[in-house]
């Protein structure tokens, strides 16, 4: 009987929010001991469905069956009692508590009136050994890596006896190495008899680790497939609802004059430690220069220096042969630099501003929108409506606050604003981080379009695939220096990876 090993069954779940139907009679069947992927674009309704399963939302219609029993999951505590645990995308940890204190929080073993720490530590170490989740129980959360924080979150659910684990986009915050470790951990968990539901929009993870996949688009279940009977192309098509090309179509670059020239710059990070050590490169009109490197080798500082948020101690940055280093952000932006920031929610947008206000964040003071100190909302509206249409920003209207948009649409708004200022140099820092394939494709096309219009594009990314596909040249950054300039047509992933970690490669150096 199929029923026998079904641990979670959601039948006809419907959840409405004002203005949208987030889940439209969704069915989900998860079997014991499998890794079940829930695939969908941002805003498709994956997280809503899992929040219902975890008791954070109540469904308007539908039934939930857990281990063959019909349940009404009123709150997360009840979900815990049913053995459901959730590892949130944004960790729910207390920074200045130790690892073990965080794990036992709310379920502390007691010895008379005191917390029995010895027993807690032993229990945590047992769990950690059994599932291969390496943690150091006595250090504070603020001192451990993101990867370990995530392992602490997983241990928290296991400690509470969860056997159905929900992972909400767990890899979004991890480095490539940490992602690999997580995949191993998930396989260990399943071998020990746990069941995992993985919310994701990354096809690679599904192909690598999952057994079954349920695809959701616009609140509806599109299909349920066995992973070994499908392929990434099919999944992408079902997720987005149309054909998606993975490789980027572009002609050979025709580089012209030098737009940006960075010569021998030095700068320190927030702690006063040298972050840029005599870094030099040039970007020409009509080319995309990629900057490859392991996170933390000076990329963030480089971006801040280029956009005017950080001072350089020595060296020279010039734009069209005019020096622009240590100018304030506005002067740099006015001299023809557009910038898609690394962190769109922190730097790129004011989330509580409406879309129309966000779209003039760099130009609100220009005569077009500002007459004698008064903003011209009529013009601002028209500007917003035009950009929303041109850049396909999916929003109810221009008065919606940015916070209410999905990640992809927020990023489209940032890109619309930056490109509409018609910059000569476009700096794109991690432009597709956390986005789904549809949005990634759109953004890549826009970057190439800028290049083909004869603009200079500087692409700083941690995604090797993205750099290899888009760049005309790749500069490798290592410990605050450019250690090599390579041609993506010639170099292999392995060679590039070696250079990023400070190794030497014989064949390199394009002009």
């Amino acid at each position: 009987m199929e029923k026998d090993n079904t641990v979670v069954e959601m039948k006809g779940i419907t959840k409405r929010f004002p203005g949208i139907v987030a889940n439209d009679s969704v069915d989900l069947i998860v079997k014991k001991g499998e890794i079940h992927a829930l695939l969908g674009e941002n805003g498709a309704g994956k997280s809503t469905l899992m929040n219902i399963l975890f008791g954070l939302y109540q469904p308007d219609e539908g039934e939930i069956w857990i281990k063959g029993k019909k349940e009404v999951i009123t709150d997360p505590n009840y979900a815990n009692r049913l053995g459901i645990g959730m590892v949130h995308q944004h960790f729910m940890l207390i920074d200045n508590f130790t690892v073990v204190e965080n794990i036992i929080l709310g379920a502390e073993p007691q010895k008379t009136l005191k917390i029995d720490y010895d027993r807690s530590v032993k229990k945590v170490l047992d769990l950690s050994k059994r599932y291969g989740l390496h943690v150091d129980p006595h250090v504070k959360i603020e001192d451990v890596s993101v990867g370990m924080q995530q392992r602490v979150e997983i241990l928290k659910t296991l400690y509470r006896g969860a056997d159905i684990l929900i992972f909400d986009e767990p890899t979004a915050v991890l480095t490539p190495q940490e992602i690999e470790e997580l995949m191993v951990i998930m396989k260990n968990l399943v071998q020990e008899g746990k069941t995992i539901i993985l919310i994701t929009h990354k096809l690679k993870e599904i192909m690598e680790a999952c057994d079954t996949v349920t695809i959701i688009r616009r609140g509806k279940v599109i299909d349920r497939l066995a992973v070994n009977e499908t392929n990434p192309e099919e999944l992408a098509e079902k997720m987005v609802g149309r054909n998606v090309s993975f490789s980027v179509q572009k002609d050979k670059a025709k580089p012209l004059d030098t737009i940006l020239s960075v010569q021998n710059i030095h700068a320190s990070d927030n702690r006063g430690v040298k972050a840029l050590n005599g870094l030099s490169f040039e970007v020409k009109a009509g080319e995309i220069l990629g900057i490859a490197g392991v996170d933390g080798n000076g990329q963030s500082e480089l971006i801040e220096v280029l956009s005017g948020l950080r001072k350089i101690e020595s060296g020279k940055i010039s734009l069209h042969n005019k020096p622009v280093h240590n100018l304030n952000p506005r002067l740099i932006s006015e001299s023809g630099v557009g910038h898609i920031p690394e962190d769109r929610q922190k730097r790129g947008l004011i989330l509580d501003f409406t879309l129309r206000e966000n779209l003039v964040l760099k130009s609100y003071y220009q005569p077009e929108f500002n007459h004698h100190g008064f903003l011209q909302y009529k013009e601002i509206n028209q500007h917003a409506i035009a950009l929303i249409k041109e850049y396909d920003v999916r929003t109810p209207d221009e008065f919606t606050i940015a916070r209410a948009l999905s990640g992809g649409n927020q990023q489209k708004a940032v890109i619309a604003r930056e490109i509409s200022n018609n910059p000569d140099l476009l700096i794109a820092a991690q432009p597709t981080r956390g986005l789904d394939v549809g949005a990634i494709e759109f953004i890549h096309q826009r970057l190439i379009e800028q290049r083909d219009k004869g603009k200079a594009v500087l692409l700083i990314s941690l995604e090797l695939d993205e750099l290899m596909n888009l760049s005309d040249r790749i500069a490798v950054i290592y410990e605050g220096k450019i250690v090599g300039m390579v041609d993506p047509e010639v170099i292999t992933d392995r060679e590039l990876g070696l250079m990023m970690s400070g190794g030497k490669v014989e064949r390199e150096e394009v002009e």
Binding site: P329, S333, K346, I350, F353, L361, Y364, N370, G373
Partner: protein
Amino acid sequence: MNKWIHIFTKESVLIPVISTLLGLLIGAFIMLLGAYNPIQAYLSLIEKAFGDFYSIGETIRQITPLIFTGLSVAFAFRTGLFNIGAEGQFIMGSLAATIVGIQLDLPWYLHMPLAVVAGGMAGGLWGVIAGYLKAKRGVHEVITTIMLNWISLYLSNYFVKAYLSEPGQQRSEFLKESSWLSLQGLSQLFDNARIHFGILIAILCAVIFYIVLWKTKQGYELRAVGFNPHAAEYAGMNVGVNVMKAMFVSGVFAGLGGAAEILGVFHYLTINAAFPGYGFQGIAVALIGGNTALGTVLGAVLFGVLTFGATGMKFGAGVPVEIISIVIALVIFFVAAKGIVKYVIQLFKKEKKNML
């Protein structure tokens, strides 16, 4: 028509209204516990607040300073700052207006405006101190404004005692009549109530509040900095300067309130042992008004009516005045604890559905 229904059923409007009703209801319950008659008490409250021209004039007097300090706190809130210092800025406004009112001798059309402007400027500059410390030294404005409140209280007392005092009295001498904001004719209209032109300045300030914040380039920058200083900095705005500007405007509102109270009501400045309290009430007014211009004015009206009308409850129904402090506290409590009110709204909505 639909638009109006929409406005009145918006959460930002429903929550303060229902909070007020809940506050009054629980206040009534407490009166019942004390064997008082709540209906009679509230009727005499209304009678006291609106019964005759004198009462109306005095109620408006009570409302006026609350609008000023409410706007002060709300403006700072909108720009991401928590101005606990409206109290101190209010006092500095009073002091500056008193100095100008006593020391200068000018025709009224110069003297009165000058005293008002001096009050506003003093409050504004007092606010800028906290703004500067936040922008350049990173000291949190809650700490600095609380400390500046005490400094202003004793500074004002010192000035009155040392330079402005009426011999043998715990207050300054009277301001010259040319600096007054009150007018015999206006007072007579209201049976000699101490209503004054400060109310017009207050309403003008509310209009300015709205226009500056929502229509101007400067207001756009202030709000941007308030919501997300990182993005504002990256968009080329000077975060520090905007913080100082915001504290200046916030302080001007409070300072004008202090000036209006002296120039309109008392015409002298007393040596205060404790804070007048308008600045702190302003925090509650801004909270209940949702930090909007209109909401703040309405919040001030509510608090003004309740506090002034409370004396009527004592005479009309024998209810102690303190009950109204409980009601006000309850209203603030419910606005702050939105969840409870939302729950009540939900209950009503469900009931409606069941009835259909």
